[in-house]
């Protein structure tokens, strides 16, 4: 589903994940705000964007930690009531990041956790999507991740378009140029 020009894919790769440097790196002190010199010590814990940590991990310079939104606490909360967890606050690209980070950290349970979370929250999206009032921005929307918001929007906008069609209105729009009088000197 993701492509090179997919804006959501690009934004998702900007999410920060925490990594541990396996080697000392010279001249990249700006990556570690706590560093006193212009280099990152071996074994120091740094927050890097996903795209950078991925590349560094391929070169075995860093090891990636599991992000906080996939920890045991979040899993417990999802198990308790998937629909009420504020996933957007934790990671707006929860599912996409999960899919990409699972092979990096070698945690095989992330996949089934994502599926479990999505199955639980899907029903919530569905129950609200087609019946929500048109104009009001609902409160529960702030809990949804990007993917869930897209799903919700798909349903809401098609329902709104149908309602607009059903109520009717002007079928043909009159071009603004018609009916205007010509100036006498034309």
């Amino acid at each position: 589903m993701s492509s090179y020009y997919d804006i959501d894919d690009i934004m998702m790769e900007d999410e920060f994940v925490s990594v541990v440097f396996q080697v000392a790196a010279n001249g990249v002190g700006l990556l570690d705000p706590g560093a006193e010199t212009n280099c990152v010590e071996q074994g120091s814990k740094v927050e890097l964007p996903f795209w950078l940590s991925h590349e560094l991990q391929l070169r075995q310079a860093v090891s990636v930690n599991i992000p906080a939104c996939f920890n045991q606490k979040t899993r417990k909360e999802i198990q308790a009531d998937a629909a009420c967890v504020d996933l957007r606050n934790r990671c707006p690209y929860f599912y996409e990041l999960g899919c990409k980070i699972a092979p990096l950290v070698g945690d095989r349970t992330i996949g089934s956790f994502l599926l479990y979370a999505f199955t639980g929250r899907y029903k919530e999206v569905l129950s609200k999507a087609h019946s929500a009032a048109i104009a009001v921005a609902p409160k529960f929307l702030t809990l949804f991740t990007k993917e869930e918001t897209h799903l919700y929007e798909a349903a809401r906008s098609s329902m709104a378009a149908f309602k607009k069609w059903r109520l009717g209105g002007p079928r043909f729009e009159r071009a603004s140029i018609l009916g205007r009088k010509r100036k006498p000197n034309d």
């Binding site: 899919c99 599926l115 999505f118 899907y122 569905l126 087609h130 799903l151 349903a155 069609w165």
Partner: protein
């Protein structure tokens, strides 16, 4: 065939579905004399006063607008028929009663342009609204049963407009489930649940017409 309103999503707008519906045949009673019309889409007429003839809906509406004919509402558009259908819809919570594929659009067009030709127009109108609401509620409850093992949704007897409303949602939901249930993400699919590959209960059995596919995704297994 895809809609023209949005090049990326390949969905139809409500107006485009209405445009397709205008090709449905409709019986009219002309009140003027006119030679047959030989059009690319077919020959219609001849038109004689008080002799009924069949024309496409768009032509019927065009003649009606000029006061050249009265439109005979289709058989299903009567209070008795619609009451029966509404009862049948309410009695079967999982099945959809067969209705014309374009009943939403046809009724809307006739209500707009030929109100005086429909007997009991208010009653008919509210009955059709009720039927649509009942059916859409069924679609929604059916969608709740979509899960990771759903590889396609079969929607039998659902009408064009109803399919069109839920299409964007269903396609996205199926894609998301497909992605999260892919073998790369779930290492041993068998441990999640020992379900047979063909799940018996897979949402409402509603078949879309073959030229309006809902979006079908291959089974992951």
């Amino acid at each position: 065939m895809a809609g023209q309103s949005d090049p990326h999503l390949s969905i139809f707008s409500a107006e485009e579905v209405e445009f397709i519906a205008e090709d449905e045949m409709m019986e009219i009673v002309p009140n003027m004399k006119m030679d047959p019309l030989n059009l690319i889409c077919g020959d219609f007429g001849p038109f004689r006063p008080q002799i009924a003839t069949e024309v496409p809906l768009w032509l019927a509406v065009a003649l009606k607008k000029r006061g050249k004919c009265t439109i005979r509402p289709p058989q299903w558009m009567s209070v008795e028929k619609l009451t029966q259908i509404l009862e049948a819809e309410r009695e079967s919570p999982r099945e959809f009663h067969p209705l014309p594929f374009h009943y939403v659009e046809i009724s809307r067009l006739l209500f707009d342009h030929a109100r005086d030709d429909i007997p009991d127009v208010y009653m008919v109108r509210s009955l059709i609204e009720d039927i649509r609401d009942v059916r859409f509620h069924k679609v929604e409850t059916g969608l709740e049963t979509i899960s990771a093992r759903t590889h396609a949704v079969k929607l039998k007897n659902l009408s064009a407009m109803e399919v069109n409303i839920v299409r964007p949602f269903i396609v996205r939901a199926l894609q998301a489930f497909y992605k999260h249930d892919s073998p790369q993400m779930i290492p041993q699919p068998d441990t999640i649940g020992n379900r047979p590959p063909q799940v018996a209960d897979r949402g409402p059995r509603v078949r879309a017409k073959s030229h309006m596919p809902l979006g079908t995704l291959a089974d992951t297994l």
